[in-house]
Structure formats: structure tokens, C-alpha cells
């Protein structure tokens, strides 16, 4: 057994985890400093083990450690992790994060991670949220793990407490990347396409997102910005476009999936969606000046959107011609602005 593991085995809970985190930080920062890592020889192996036993407490008490933390202890632990990440140098922050939460997503790890993010959100710890955002990006914003995390946050901040949350409101200023990826995941959780098994997004959430996007037209491209260092990116705009079009339709046609919406909530939602549509166009305008030159949409997306629109119209026997015209115009406006801002490439055949 390595020195560190032996040392930690004598310590009781808060202290053992604190020292474990310290050890992790030293491992990562010193590795960073020398920029050498010899597999099998360096401390990383121990790091994984230390993390496994004294942060995630996964050993099941194999070495006489604590089997399971109670809620208070867990909160203590989360606080320690959060502080550790926040105080770690920026270059090694994500590496520490990966050692703790990377690898196979076992439920206990995901559970702890979700709680950490929720806590970081309520305390506005930007560094932790930035790590979470990168993690989301690596997993893909539409992946189940990320959607689960996002769903949990929506529950915590939009459904459990419907009052306006100040911390949630200013989320973009705490971590823009996290906000961006969160929105992407949310559009995946709530497609707002009239599917009976999927609820429409909560009104509060819709309001938050619309306000975020309206006040910062570059917010949606935080993930795109990272294209130089990240393999992939995600952009919430496709999902939001769908909301603007299909959401409006769902709200106007007494669709079963929105049956729990009151009339005032419906008209409120419709108003917000108009603002969101404008926000999307504004964002697209801003995108051009950012010169990121990535395609954000494909024409087939718009084609399938239009098809879904027509399906719902037929299914619901939607009568309001003016609204339908308006939605078609919206699609048209979005395509026009998207083409102009080079976020949508079209071949000559379509034109």
C-alpha cells in the first residue's frame, strides 16, 4: 500500500477527504509543472485510488473506512470539493475534476456530481460550473447523463421553487459556457413538439432562457467558441428554433401535452416565444460579427421542422390561418437571417 493510502486510512472523515483532495491537487499541479507523466509510475494511479476511496467512498468499507456519508457529511464533502476546485490553478482545475468525476458514469458518482453542480449554481461558483460545462460538452449536450443533470437542475430551480431565483437569473454572468450547454440540454429534454409523452418546458424556465438570450446575443455561441480546443460543439439555437415554431402551435391548439397550462400561461408563453424568436434572430446577427464560421443549422433541419409543423396542423385540425402564416414567416425569417449570417449553408439547388 502506498504511503498516502496508509496515511489516509488512519484519518476520520472530513480530514481524510480534505487530505485526499490536497493530494489530488498536488499530483495534478506537479505533473503540470514538470509536464511529464510516466504511466504506472507517477502518482496518478494512487490518485485514482485515493479519489475512489476517500472522495467517492466507493470501496464499501473495504479498508475499514466510512461506508456511507450521511447528508450533513455529504454536504461537507461537496463544499470541500467545490473549494478545492475553485482554489486550484485554472490549468489543473479540469484535470482534478476529471480524476474525481471522469471515467465510467456510475450512479453514485453522477449523484454526487449533480449535487455538486446544483450547489455551485446556488452559490454562483463559476469555476465548478465551468468544469461541469466542459464535462457536458465532452459527453455531448444531448447525452443521457447531461440531460439527467440538466433535468435535475430544472427541477431544483424551476419546478420545486417557482419564485424567480436571483442566482439562476444571473447564471450567464457566472458561467456563460455552462448556461449555453444547459440550454442545449434543456431543448433536448423538452422538444416542445407536441409529443404526448413529453411535457412543454416550464414557463419559468422559458422565461429565464429568453431573458438570457435577449440580454446577451453571443450567449448561444459559447460552446462554438471552443471549437479550436474542443472536438465538438453544441448550440442551443436549433432547439430554440423548434420551440419558437412548434411551441407556439402547441400552445394555440389545445394540445393534450399542454393540458396543464392555464389560458393566461398559454398567452404568456406565446408572448415569450415571440421575444425568443426575436432573440434568436438577434443572436444570429451577432454570430456573423463573431466570425466563428461554423455551420449551426442544416437545411434538412428546417425541412423536417416544417414537416412536423404540418403534421401537427393536420393532427390537431389547426384552423388559425393567421397564426400558421406567422409561423411560416418565422421560419422564413430565420432561414433568411441564418443564410446571411453564414450559420446555414445552402446549395444552389435549394435556392
Amino acid at each position: 500500500m502506498s504511503k498516502i493510502l496508509r496515511k489516509l486510512s488512519y484519518l476520520a472523515f472530513p480530514e481524510c477527504s480534505r487530505q485526499a483532495l490536497q493530494y489530488l491537487t498536488t499530483c495534478v499541479t506537479s505533473a503540470n509543472a514538470h509536464d511529464v507523466s510516466i504511466p504506472g509510475l507517477d502518482g496518478a494511479d494512487h490518485a485514482a485510488e485515493v479519489c475512489h476511496e476517500y472522495i467517492l467512498f466507493n470501496s464499501g468499507g473495504r479498508r475499514g473506512g466510512i461506508q456511507k456519508l450521511n447528508s450533513i457529511q455529504e454536504l461537507n464533502l461537496l463544499e470541500m470539493i467545490s473549494t478545492c476546485l475553485d482554489q486550484a490553478p485554472q490549468s489543473s482545475r479540469y484535470r482534478i475534476f476529471v480524476i474525481i468525476f471522469g471515467g465510467s458514469p456510475d450512479p453514485q458518482k453522477i449523484n454526487l456530481f449533480t449535487k455538486l453542480v446544483s450547489m455551485a449554481l446556488s452559490l454562483s461558483v463559476g469555476s465548478v460550473l465551468d468544469c461541469a460545462a466542459l464535462w457536458m460538452q465532452e459527453h455531448g449536450c444531448h447525452s443521457k447523463a447531461v440531460c439527467d443533470l440538466s433535468h435535475k437542475l430544472v427541477e431544483d430551480y424551476c419546478i420545486l421553487f417557482t419564485d424567480v431565483s436571483k442566482t439562476f437569473q444571473k447564471l450567464p454572468t457566472v458561467s456563460a459556457l455552462f448556461t449555453c450547454n444547459f440550454i442545449t440540454a434543456v431543448t433536448s429534454i423538452y422538444p416542445f413538439n407536441g409529443n404526448i409523452f413529453q411535457r412543454p418546458p416550464p414557463l419559468g424556465l422559458l422565461q429565464y432562457i429568453t431573458n438570457w438570450i435577449s440580454s446577451d446575443p453571443c450567449l448561444c455561441f459559447e460552446s462554438v467558441r471552443l471549437i479550436r480546443i474542443q472536438a465538438n460543439f453544441s448550440c442551443p439555437l436549433s432547439g430554440l428554433v423548434q420551440w419558437c415554431i412548434l411551441g407556439h402551435l402547441v400552445m394555440e391548439s389545445r394540445h393534450s401535452s399542454s393540458s396543464n397550462f392555464s389560458d393566461s400561461d398559454r398567452s404568456k408563453t406565446i408572448d415569450i416565444l415571440s421575444k425568443l424568436h426575436f432573440g434568436v434572430l438577434q443572436s444570429l446577427q451577432a454570430y456573423r460579427s463573431m466570425e466563428l464560421n461554423q455551420e449551426l443549422f442544416t437545411m434538412s433541419q428546417f425541412v423536417s421542422l416544417s414537416q412536423t409543423l404540418m403534421q401537427i396542423v393536420e393532427k390537431e385540425e389547426f384552423q388559425n390561418k393567421d397564426s400558421l402564416n406567422m409561423l411560416v414567416e418565422r421560419i422564413g425569417q430565420m432561414i433568411q437571417v441564418a443564410i446571411l449570417t453564414k450559420s446555414l449553408k445552402v446549395n444552389g439547388k435549394f435556392l
Binding site: D271, S274, K275, H277, F278, L281, Q282, Q285, M326, E329, R330, G332, Q333, I335, Q336, V337, I339, L340, T341
Partner: protein, 681 residues
Amino acid sequence: MAAVMKQSTGCSDEEWLVLRARSCMKTDQYAAKAWMITARSLFPRNFTIQFEAYTLEKVGKNVKEAAKLLEEMFMVFSNEDRLWEEIHQILEILQTEAMSDGQNNFLTEIFAEVSTHVQCQMLLTVAEKISNTLEQCRLLLLAMRKFPNLVGEHGLKLLETLHAAEMESNVQHPINCYRKLLVYDVLPLVLQRQKAGEIPPSKLYHWLKMAIDFYISYVTHPPSGHSSTVQGEMLSPTKSSKRQIPIPGLFERECQVTDPWGNLLKTFLLIGQHLGWEPQQELFSPQRETNFKQLFTLYNRSKQAGKDVNLHQILYTAVILFLHCLFAYVSAVDPESFIGTNSNHLPLVMVEGFKQESASESSPSKKLKTQTDTSPKLLATSSVPDSQHIISSFSTAFKCYELLHSSTELQREFMSLCEMWHMETWTWMGHFQTDMLIYQGAFMDAIAHLQNFSTANKESMKVRSSLQMACCFFSLHKYMKACELVLNVIKEVSVQDAATQMTNRSQVDKSHIDPSRRSLLLTVCSQTEILPYCVELLIACYKTKLNSAKSDDLALGHLIILLQYDWPKFQHVLSDVVQKIQKQGSFIYNLFFNYVINVDILEEVTFLKSQEGGKINLDILCISTKAIAQQRAVTRGVNKGVKEDFKVAMEKQVSRCEENIDKLIMKFLCEERQSLLKALS
């Protein structure tokens, strides 16, 4: 996409898009804005659409967005007239606000949101486009106020433009729109921003002259109705006291010149700094003597150096100090002379004072010759408000005036300034000139000046000028002329002050004065203040008759009546009179019982009749004893009857002793005019 959206409405694509946006505006402003974004993406170089988008944001009161669009339009569509109209409108409102600190207009909020660089460009470009010089100058001024960095580039140019515009417009009066902007608004900015030594001195002198001319004309502007036409608003009681002179060509808000003296001093100090002087910061402080002393030190030093190095500094310091003192003095003397000055007291008058000694063997003019080295002492009655300041203002103005005439160089420079400012037209200076001549003892000149000046004089200043002339004639021993003028004054004030009788007669503190020194008296032109002086002057006139060998009972009688005034102030004169009567042995004066009610005097006169008194033959009953004698037609017992009459008359007079002596004297002076003059002929 344009093809998709275009409908067969018969209008162009752009128009259709604009219409779409407008139609959405009422129900859903976001939809309208979405349309505008689409329209702008379709027609990025279309002004109509861009302007519509701007209008939309303006209507929606979105300051930031509107500002952004305005800025964009300014960059891209610099040739569009509608854009210029809009910017011009914004700038006009901006100017209005700069003047009045009212609530912010929405348009100016938009302007404030535009980036500083573009703001600056907008102002300059609009200013460039305007053909009206005045408008152009206003905008440039606004630009320089907002962006002081522009002063370096545009300040001097703007001053030149304004100067040229004033010359071109051919206005004679210094209070004109160009001058006001130049002197009051632009000049301080330029002087503050420009570094010393960057501006040629000739220009600085020129501006200083313009500034002095402007501010002096401004503060000495006569009240409306006097020279300018009476306007309805000026007549309203709320506005009458406000110092606001309408300047043709400027808006009402622009005409405001706050603290003209303070601004003149500021300009003087700034220009002084540019010229490398060490200007006197406290030049307008109430410590006039100190200020003059500093100036005089500078003058002496430069005289010793024997060069003209400080000539201009001395000249301008003296001129400005002179004008400030002059203004303070004249506005105290003639409170109604200038618009906006405090006119709640009567005019003041400066007259020759009397010697304290009872005998006046030598005339004042003779004394003056022996006393040329010491200047006369100025005194004020206690009714004169803030008298020390008024007196020091006068004497400092006088000293400055002397200084300005003390060397040929200074005199020449000063004369050229006078000529440039048309000082001969400054009628308000007349009061000072009169007082200065009296102060110098040049009574002939003073009379000539008063006579010249009186035609232009206002009703309220008549008393003042008559009284001054009287004192001048008296000093020149022209007693009858002096008396005539005094009687005129008395007549004038008896009417004027009939309603407002003051209770207490104010006093002059003469305790510290060398009695042999010449003194001048400053007092208020009211009956209560002037009457003592008039009486004293008349007493002095009639007293001269005491010394003449021939008997003159009329003069003696008038003197006795006058002596009652302010009894026992002139008690010492009475003994001279009594002696004279005793010497004569008889005294005939029929007005005696009409006007003498003073018990002491009655007693003294009764005593004259007695054995001890010299058994003087007194014929002082209203109807002469001779006449009574003729009436009775008997010679015996005549005297007895007379004796009885005399006794009764005396007793009657004693019973009148409580009567108001001031009124009695006034009555005497008004009703016995002929007799009073006759006694002095």
C-alpha cells in the same frame, strides 16, 4: 426569401417589409423587431429600412438599440437628408437641455448612448453642414462643452468666426449675440484649455477689451422702458427685478449672463495667466484700499524699472478695478440707473461739507489752495446703507482714474480704450464725474458739467443735481444762486416726501475729523436727510451778512428763524446775531412772530428790549409799530398799546413752542421765497 415573402400588393419589397413591421408594432413589438432584422438582412444597404428600424426602437423607447442603429446609419448613410434632420433635431434638443437643467429628453438619452467618438463626429459634421453662422457656432460650442479635447482644434477658429460674424453683421452695440457667445461661452473654454504662450498677446488683449466692453455694457444696461422698448413680460412684477437683457438673435435661455462681474474677473485672470502676469485674484474684494495698494506697488516698481514692461497689466488692472468701483458707486448713488440693481433706496448725493468752526473767515476755495496735499475727507450720514463700501468705492475709483492719467503712456492707452468703448456714451458715468469734480474742488467745472448733464437727467435725480449745484455756487460765494437752488430743492422734496416722513434724523460721526480739513458729505436724497443740509447752507449764506458793516435786518431775521432748526445746534450763531442787533440799536423784522417759536430765542429777544439788553428798538410785530401808530391816530399812549401787543404776541409764541419745527421751517422756506432771496441780493 424575398421572393417567398413578396406579395402582390403593388409595393416594393422594402416597403412591404416596413409595412409588415409597422403592422406588428401595435400587437407584438418583438415580431416587429424580428421583421426589421429580416428586412435589414435582406437589404443591408437600404436606408429606408434602417431608418424604420431606428424609428421602431425610438417608439419602443429602447435607448440602446436606437442609439446603435443611429450610429450605424451615421457611418453608412452619411448622405441621407432624413438622417441629418434627425441628428439635427437631437442636437437642438441637446442644446436646449444644456441651457435649462430640465428632465432629460428621450432623444438626448439616445445621443448619450452613442459612442463618444461618433457623438463628436455627429456634432462636427452637422456644424459643418449648417450655413447659419450662429447655429454653427452654437453646435461647435456644444461640441466643445461635451468634448473639451475639441477646444484645442476648434476653439481659436470659433473665436475668429464669431469675431468675423460680429464685424460682418455691423452691430454697434457690444451686447449682441456673437459677442455674448464669444465672451461668455467660448472664450473661457479656450483660455482654460489652451496652454499659456500658445495664443499671441495681441489677440488676448483684443479679447480682453471685448470682454470688458461686453460685461460693462451688460451690467450698466438701463432698465427697460428707458432706452429699449417696453415689453409686456418685462412689465410683469415677477420679472421686473430679474437681470435679463434680451439679446437679439439668441434664445431667451441663451441670454442669461450669470454673475457678469465674476465672469469678467475670471476672464481677466485667465488672460493674465496667459500673458505671464501675476493678476490680482481678489481684485473685486471689498478691501478696495488693499487692492489699490497692490496695483500702486506694481506701478511704482515698473516706474523704477523705467520700462513699459508692466504697462498693460497696470492699465487693465486699473481699468477693471476702476470700472468695478465706479459701478458699485454709481449703482448706490442712482439705484435706478441699471437693470437688475437693488433699487429699494433713494438716490444718494455728495455735497461739500461745512467747517465745524463757527466763524467762516476764509472761504472754502481759499482753504483748498492751502490743502491740496491732503485729499478731502468723505463722510456719510447714518442713513446711507453700507456707506463705508460706497465711500471706498468712490475714492478707489478716483485713485484709479488719477493713476490712469499719471503717465503719458497710460493716458494714451486709456484714451484709446475709451474711444474703442465709446465711453462718451456711458451716461451713467456722469454722476461720478460730477462727484469727482466736487471732490477735487473744481466747482466751476462741476456746475458746467451739471448743467450739461441735467438735460439728460431723470426726475429722481433732479434734487441731487440741484443740491450739488447749490453747494458749488455756495463754495464760489454765489450765495443768492445757491439759495435759489436750495429753495428749489426744498420745494421739490416737500412734495416728494410729503407722504414718507422719516422719524429720526440721522447723524454724522464727525468725532475723528480734523476740523480744518475739507470734508464732503454723502447723504440720501430724502427730505429728512436733505433739510438739515439746506438749513445749514442757508445759515452759512446769511451769516456772511453778519460781517458786513451795513445793517441788514431782513437777513438777520431770516437767520434767527433758521437758527431754531435743530436747536441748540446753532446757538453760537445766535449770540453773534444778538451782538449785531445790539450794535445796531434797532431791529425791524415783521416775520418774527410768524416763525419764531423757540423759547430760548424768544427770551433772548425779549431781553434785548429790557434795560440790561440795551433797550433795543424792536419792530417785530406782524404789523409794523409805525402802521399801528398811524392807525390809532393818537400819539400818546401808543407805546403802551404796542407794549401790550408785544407781550401778548410773545406769550402766544411761547404757547406755540411745541409745534413741529421742521414743518415750520419748511413752510418758511417755501412761502418766503422772495424775501429769502431778497436778503441775499
